[in-house]
Symmetry: C2
């Protein structure tokens, strides 16, 4: 795996010193750290190690650990946003209920497939949410999309919060370990149960009221 202490830069083995793309390398390394052990496993020094630089180098690009985590959360949010959009856009002509179902499923599946990344995105005590305009925008974009669809489906006022809470709750229950009965690692059954709960909720919510 490791040939020599150099072989770091893409083309010029400049003997170490001046990584060239350290910022991106650190984000990538941190993404992998999150993947491997969750947000708590992230260590600035380990990210530096994996990027082949000294322990102080990361602080040239990120003032502190939180900002590094925020950059990772930004990337993760981007992926989640893309996954959700990729699920709705092909069926933009179908009825709102179908689109809502697709959004919820995409969200839940992404969270289930990327539990540790979802943990970074959702727990805002770990990041500096307000500082990232892109993360805010993509987040609000999903909420707005859901809002429009709920309105179009004639959902009652307050349904937006309930819908958000249900999907968010299912996703977090999974990563927080509250779904042991459906298998901790075998995501198949848990996903099926979550999908069923989502369907139930949407059907109940959008069923015409007397």
């Amino acid at each position: 795996m490791a040939r020599r202490p150099d072989a770091k830069a893409k083309k010029k083995p400049s003997r170490t010193y001046h990584h060239g793309k350290l910022r991106e390398a650190l984000i990538e390394a941190t993404l992998r750290l999150v993947e491997e052990g969750g947000p708590e496993a992230v260590t600035v020094r380990e990210a530096a190690r994996r990027s082949g630089v000294s322990s102080g180098a990361p602080f040239r690009h990120f003032p502190n650990r939180t900002v590094l985590m925020t950059a990772v959360a930004e990337e993760a949010t981007h992926r989640l946003h893309a996954a959700v959009l990729a699920a709705v856009e092909p069926i933009a002509a179908k009825p709102p209920l179908a689109q809502l179902r697709a959004i919820g499923r995409a969200y839940l599946h992404w969270a289930s497939d990327n539990p540790t990344h979802f943990a970074v995105v959702s727990n805002r005590g770990l990041i500096d949410y307000e500082s990232s305009s892109s993360m805010k925008r993509e987040n609000e974009d999903i909420q707005a999309l859901m809002g429009r669809l709920l309105d179009a489906a004639g959902a009652p006022t307050g349904a937006k919060l309930a819908a958000r809470a249900l999907v968010y709750g299912l996703a977090r229950m999974r990563i927080d370990g509250h779904l042991p009965q459906w298998g901790v690692s075998s995501s198949g059954e848990a996903l099926a149960a979550m999908d069923a709960a989502l369907d139930l909720f949407l059907d109940a919510l959008l069923r015409p009221r007397g």
Copy 2:
């Protein structure tokens, strides 16, 4: 506040050494630490400091930080359980819907009033959930109660998971900072919105289906 380096034990100022009730003192100190700065702010050394013992002493009672946190989660779960029971028991004769509402409200209000304690209870990555039989019991007790009430109300299969997810989702959204529009600190409006979402969900779920 601090008169002398002694004045620690209740009655016998035994010059330090042998605290007598260090275990409980540590749990109490940790509870306060959680209260002040969330689960991440908990430090074994600080708990020791506040209990007036050396930094190694806590390890005589808790093998590691996680076990200390688990003890705190146990206590917090006990309080949450008590709050929920106190809300339902007086109205055990009323219809299931009313009882379900009361449970959800009590849960949400407790989580809202004790956000950091709720964080400890809910995030099982921070504790050793399986090792605490009392915590498991009280937790499953609430779930079972909700399950019975949902069955009695004629809720469809799968409603149990949806109901748990909705309440859990609302509670976590609040502590995770996903409800800025309802005021971060002014819990009044956020609570009202959560209650409304809960009502909406229960009404939709339990409305007779065709």
